[in-house]
Amino acid sequence: MKTIKRLGLLFVFLLGLVLVTACGNNSSKSSSKSSDTKTTKEFKGQTMNVVATSDAYQPLFDKFSKQTGAKVKVLSMSSGEVLARMKADKSKPMADLWFGGGLDAFMQAKTDHQLEKYQSNSIDKISTKYRDKDGYWLSKGLTVGGFVVNKKVLKEKGLPVPKTWDDLAKSEYKGEIIMSDPSVSGTMYAIVKGIIDKKGEKAGWDYWNKVNDNITFYGKRGKDPQEKTASGEFGIGVIPVDKMAFDAAKKDDLKVIYPSDGIPWVPEGVAVFKNAPGKKVAEAFIDFMLEPRNMKELAKLDGKDTDQIIMPGIKGLDLGLNKKDLIKENLSNFGSDRTSILNKWSDMVGDK
Amino acid sequence: MFLEVKNLTKKYSSKTVLHSLSFGVDQNKILVVLGPSGCGKSTLLSCLNGFITVDEGAVLLDGKDITKLAPEERDITTVFQSYSLFPHMNVMQNLMYGLKFKKMSRNDARKKTLKMLHLLQMDEFANTKIQDLSGGQQQRIALGRSLIVEPKLLLLDEPFSNLDEKLRLTMRHELRQIQKELNMTMVFVTHDQQEAFSIGDQILVMDQGQIQQIDTGQGLYSTPKNHFVLKFIGDSNLLDNGDYIRPEDIVITDDPNGDGVIEQMDFQGSTINYLINYNKHVFHVTCLNRMEPLRVGTRVDVQYKVSKLEER
């Protein structure tokens, strides 16, 4: 009998361990300090689950926690993965808030009825161009495309520093350019789509055909071009231009370039998931984010100087981007054309 | 001397396990190294076959100093207690293995192996897997594998200890026969004195890393050199003055007026062992089973022969 008791105890102990582990996060760090008088909403004891493109937003979430008492749990995940997970697991929303990621995924999710509609009181601050007309998503900033150059490598090969997208199509750069697979990197997709929008269907694809001839292989990760240019494996990398790119350039003695013949861009989305248990908290967070001082903080965390474009009047960083250089893009088919563009792209590049 | 060991000393860190041993073995003779477990006999063997290095002293084989040679360079083979047959080879391959390293054609090696199989009386097992052999058969192959390379010296490390009683007797007999036939010099390690008596031309009794006595079996029994040998070899009744009486040297006869009383009777088959109380001492007595066993409590007349220990 004693043995059974002991085994039982062991079992209970292990079960307890499981439970503690499973719920540990809820109790571990309760943010009870936030008896702020300024708080407009009180979410003490509640949790907001977030899927974000980066862990870098933590300070903003911390600030939100402090103000509202809600605990924020973040998991960083690419937008493609978010879509895939939602498709496979329809039993539950992925999280409460979807923070960042290419707009095409948000458009897709809206079509698939996986988003919750929310119109913040301060939504008017964002220009209509950068939010869904039905109120399913809004953008928190733009990601813009450009390239980074390894001066040493180009010098060794006796090549001039490219200044424009058209330069990349020149045959002298053959084997010296790297970019990521647009099916993996949302920014690359935006660049491909942006240039097609700018040059028109036929000229656009002609252009990409020529660039393709210069490229040995496509990176399988968004960061490949940045890194492989830094290590000198390639002379030119096509990248999303943000503060990280400038920082990295400083680290590795590279040069970041805004092409003078137009800058492709893609809005970064924010949305609430359908049937999210923490819907109210997520909505409160959107309100919170839209407060100018928080938007400024976000701009800093994002390392982008594009937030002011989204919300006029906000002073973020100044990375030297000129608003006039942005390519005129057609956002309406940004999501719907993705599959066809990527298919055509993959036919063009073959096995690279 | 064919094998000569001079002042052999082996230490492990600070502990000396072999104390300056010196002895020799004549050609075509078997020396049995006998001693309780932990006496250093396995270490001695490893010094001879080269698996451990010697700290001091020398080992000479056929006049050649082999002290520093690696095991594979010595003209010595060893039959290990665990048979150590290669499990991935069959009987034939096991037997032939050592011949690979002798400059010998494959055909000759084969012939020689078949001859060895015949000698071992295992002709029909040439292609049998090792795992399919019985313990005794494995032992034979292990012996044959070491013999086939015609070493100058064959070492055997308690080779029969894993066999049952009957098989052990047969194997002793066979070993002697093969040794005679092949004119082999051997060093045979065991803790079993019956085995030592029946196999050894000479027996080296060892204890605590020291040689206690080297002699023939009979010599050891009849003239033990010291207390250890006396107590280790056979049974004896020690007297207070240091003399001793072997149990078979006591003759008891049924006598109601005798001075002895039977305290215990132990029937052994061919012999009967008694414990008798005589002059307030207890004595072991061994009698041949030639008469009705004496019952416990019977008074007996006691006759005996005292031996003296020839302590040096």
Binding site: T3, I4, V18, N25, V153 | P87
Partner: protein, 549 residues
Amino acid sequence: MGKNHLGSKITNWFVYIVISLSILLFIFYPYLSIFVQALHEPGETFNNFFMQNIDLTKNSLFVAIITMVLSVFLAVSVTLCFVFISKKWQSILRVFLLITMVSPPFVTSLAYITLFGRRGMITHDLLQMTIDPYGPQGIILMQTLSFASLNALVLIGLLKQLEPSLINSARSLGARTDAVIKDIILPLLKPGLIVVALISFIRSLADFQTPTIIGGSFKMLASEGYFAVISMGDIHKAALINLTLAIPALIGFFLYIKYDREMSVQHHGLSSNMKAFPLPKKGFFFVGSVILSVIFYLALLLQYGSIVMNAFSVKVMGNYRFSLQPIIDSQIYLNDTITRTILYSLVAGLLGSLISFLIIYYSKVRNDRFMKFIEMVGTFPYILPGTFFGLGYLYAFSKPPLIMTGTSIIVIINVIFKQVAFATKAAKASVSQIEPTYFKTVHDLGGTVVNEWKDVFFPMTKQGFAITFLNGFISTMTTIGSIIFLVHPGQNMMTLVMFDVVQRGEYQVAAVIACMIILICLVMSGIVFGLISLSGKDWGYVFRSKKSH
């Protein structure tokens, strides 16, 4: 007394049923779901997919076969080196190999690119060549390096079990070092060689990380399966790809079972207290194995040196400077992840080992045929790619009858059951050390099944249990594939964070996390081995009594 027996019987049946059901539910059912998804859901048919993407399969098999051959070859060299070196060096090198089991592929690849890349320090700066490292050659090299450690550890373990007198017999018959290795050691290691070869083959097939970093334009099944999910959200395609992967993996597996059995039956001989090593440092194998081992250890040193360097430095204008910045930077990525990862690993190690030992109790001690089947089902997560297992969970537990996705429990269950495969193997080895008569003795003296566990089974295997636990702990600390699709916010694990920051290019942070994982694993190994050696004295006799037979 009677009551006692009744309670024991109930416990027995309860445990038996719980274990069988849990294996069926948490291993069999997820695989079944994903197979059904791949074959029956609308979309491309398997045949169609397979025929059109035959090149992917060819590429994967090509890389897997070459990696298998090379990594086994390297592991053999490293193992053979052990027959020449002293005990002290052996244990140092073993710890080193143990550390390199935690092998984040990005480190290897990064060091490789720095040295042998198109502008690599050796190829470009030193030899004035421009070589393209991207492609199958890069993948093969990286995988070979990182698989060789585990292979070598398995083989070294086997080497230590070789009966010394076999080697001594060969030497006494005149075999020199080369002959001993060629005729005795290598043939006796053969079943082990085949087992590690198959492990490498399966690992290479399932590895989706290395190709994404160093593969260039070379496409393989595992990485395409991963991309199918993360870039296209195409679970159906991922399922098809994984199904394709499963075919060679399953073939490999059945070979594996066959040779694994051989590996365990081989050690039936008698053993002695003799020492066989070190062998004389002579001959072809000595020179060859030492040269290859030195190169191998240098490569490992370089890799792990670069991790440590990355963790403690920042780059300014292309130069490295010492800094604690990476450690500070890593804080926002980690939060409570460290505690959670350790806790999950502890739970997985404990429960995984407990379940595995109980399975082995039924399948081996009791010779229960159904449990043998359960044991085989338990090996699946070991052979099939981790992502496949994860996708299976995502599929199976997101719909009735059992909806668990989004909970922490599903992640924990996943890591527990994922390691049953390896743990049952270790358990089997450990249990085979116990004389069956002990169990009979318990019943003979009036004990029950529960007494068997309490008085014989667990006490006598506690050393094996500790090792199995450690294995489970380490493998959970380093697992990625099976949980990458399962974690929700607030459930992240250290390896996933590391994988994520690597994708993001934050190598410094990744290096910090890698160092932490290594450190945690080392500390845990220290604790476990410390406990074993503390209680070691009491256990000597169990093994001795076995030996003296």
